[in-house]
């Protein structure tokens, strides 16, 4: 069961109408290492992972959905009043022709979301190493978007999201240690 709280995890502010940034950000919406992939990956793996770490995967999956909501808000704000000229300048015409101003689960290259982005091997160590890699890849993607973005307010939100990937990477690394039975205490994050 989900309990929905009608506010964002972290405030999303955008300084200027810039649909080009939306084109980059959509990578974190429907890309291989994006927030949707992250949420679905952990929420799916949680069923077959040893019970010591089920809670961790569920908690992080829930948080990823709240990140997805932040990305959606960013993309929406960056594009909502864009004119066809601005859409053209941003190179978003293919998206516009297909989806109008709707958001869509696709990557920055326009490729639709695909379940093969998500691994579920059923081997606890393999799955957790996958998750650690996924967090580092999401961190790298945020860095690349920050490198390309000149919007300080947007970058503030992106830096928050990037830091969360670091924390998640830490917790998955600790989960591996728990399964190695080097450690068995619950952690606060």
């Amino acid at each position: 069961m989900f309990v929905y709280e009608k506010k964002l995890l972290y405030p999303v502010k955008v300084s200027s109408c810039n649909p080009k940034l939306a084109k980059y950000l959509i990578e974190q919406y429907g890309g291989a290492d994006g927030e949707l992939a992250a949420a679905l990956r952990y929420m799916n793996q949680r069923y077959t992972i040893p019970d010591k770490v089920i809670g961790l995967l569920t908690d992080i999956a829930m948080e990823e959905f709240s990140h997805l909501e932040m990305i959606a808000t960013m993309v929406f704000k960056l594009t909502k009043d864009a004119t066809p000229d601005q859409i053209r300048d941003a190179g978003l015409e293919p998206h516009y022709v297909n989806h109008g101003s709707a958001l869509y689960y696709e990557n920055a290259g326009g490729i639709p979301f695909n379940a093969s982005y998500i691994a579920g091997k059923g081997d606890p160590i393999a799955d957790l190493y996958e998750d650690i890699a996924a967090e580092e890849k999401a961190r790298a993607t945020y860095q690349y978007i920050i490198d390309l973005s000149d919007d300080p307010d947007l970058n503030d939100g992106l830096k928050f999201l990037r830091e969360r990937e670091i924390v998640h990477g830490q917790r998955f690394r600790e989960a591996v240690e728990m399964l190695k039975e080097n450690y068995s205490e619950r952690k606060v994050f």
Partner: protein
């Protein structure tokens, strides 16, 4: 350069079409070093923690683009 950023000097050929970047960088966030987090570590105040994205200074790994003008200027000094 921040402690979370490492660099190396890649080979540059004399006929490379783009002006070579003499030094390239990559990030090494604190989760690579912390190990299993010890209880009782120092914490940020709640408002700061919400802003930074972590409660723990030991896990905070800030990022500025290595291509940002301020960052590049700093780079020349090392």
């Amino acid at each position: 350069m921040s402690e979370h950023r490492k660099s190396w000097k890649p080979y540059a050929g004399k006929n490379d079409p783009c002006p070579p970047l003499k030094e390239k960088t990559y990030e090494t966030p604190p989760n690579l070093y912390l190990g299993v987090q010890e209880p009782g570590l120092e914490q940020y105040k709640p408002a700061d923690a919400l802003k930074k994205g972590t409660l723990w200074p030991a896990l905070f790994g800030p990022y500025e683009s290595p291509f940002a003008p301020s960052t590049r200027a700093n780079k020349k000094e090392d």
